[in-house]
């Protein structure tokens, strides 16, 4: 089965990425809720990379690779944009967001709560985000 996809950095490609992940996960017969959560986590990371790290520059690309390990699924998302500064990350206060009318900033919180492990690595000019989710 084809387990990787490379797309350029436009928001329109998020649907393509979600469909690709959904198609891959179908074989694992997950519940609707779990399937949606995993697709969501990948979508959130890719949206951040496209919008923030690569400023929706269509000449830039990101690559998503999916692997099924023993009892978990691993997602590897690579790009060459600005690295995510995970050390500066703070969990959002949703009530504060509501009070301030803030639109963004809750995506990574969703990813952290859904996935079992989230890692951000930089190798030279390449940034890699690794997501792991237990499925059994």
């Amino acid at each position: 089965m084809n387990n990787s996809i490379r797309v350029n950095c436009t928001k329109k490609n998020l649907k393509l990425i979600r469909d690709f992940v959904t198609e891959y996960l179908k074989a694992l017969a997950l519940s609707d809720i779990l399937m949606n959560q995993i697709v969501l986590a990948v979508d959130e990371i890719c949206a951040n990379l496209i919008i923030h790290a690569n400023h929706e520059d269509p000449t830039k690309y990101l690559t998503l690779k999916i692997q099924t390990l023993k009892d978990q699924v691993k997602f590897e998302i690579a790009d060459q944009g600005a690295a995510f500064e995970s050390n500066n990350y703070k969990e959002p206060n949703i009530q504060e967001h509501i009070r301030m009318g803030k639109k963004g900033g809750v995506g990574i919180a969703l990813v952290n709560r859904i996935m079992d492990k989230v890692e951000f690595l930089t190798e030279g000019s390449q940034n890699i985000c690794l997501l792991y989710k237990k499925i059994k």
Binding site: K11, K12, L14, K15, R18, D32, I33, M35, N36, Q37, V39, L40, D43, E44, A47, I50, I51, I94, Q95, H97, I98, R99, M100, G101, K102, K103, G104, G105, V106, G107, A109, L110, R113, I114
Partner: protein, 114 residues
Amino acid sequence: MPMKITQEIKDNTIIMTLDGELDASSSVILDEELSDPEIMKYSKILVDCQKLNYISSAGLGVFISHLQRFEDAQIKLIFFNMQDKVRNVFEILGLDLLMTIVSDYEEARTIANE
């Protein structure tokens, strides 16, 4: 088109039907609809989520960003007919406790008229 939004007006209520997927790309349309000053003329916004198949943080963010403005204007925002997988996304962030999500249209009407 990944997201189609239709509006039906009944007296002081807008029934907004979301059809499709609300992601970082399509949520812009929802934001435009909710930012329309016309919407402030109504006292109830009932959001039919039956055909909302997906929501990401961008879609949630649009609702989060308008919630206070609607509350200040005493406009009730009520979601109904939400699919379990979509409701689950609200629950992960605890938004189900901060927003009004009910099972069906009848319940939405009842709560809107309280």
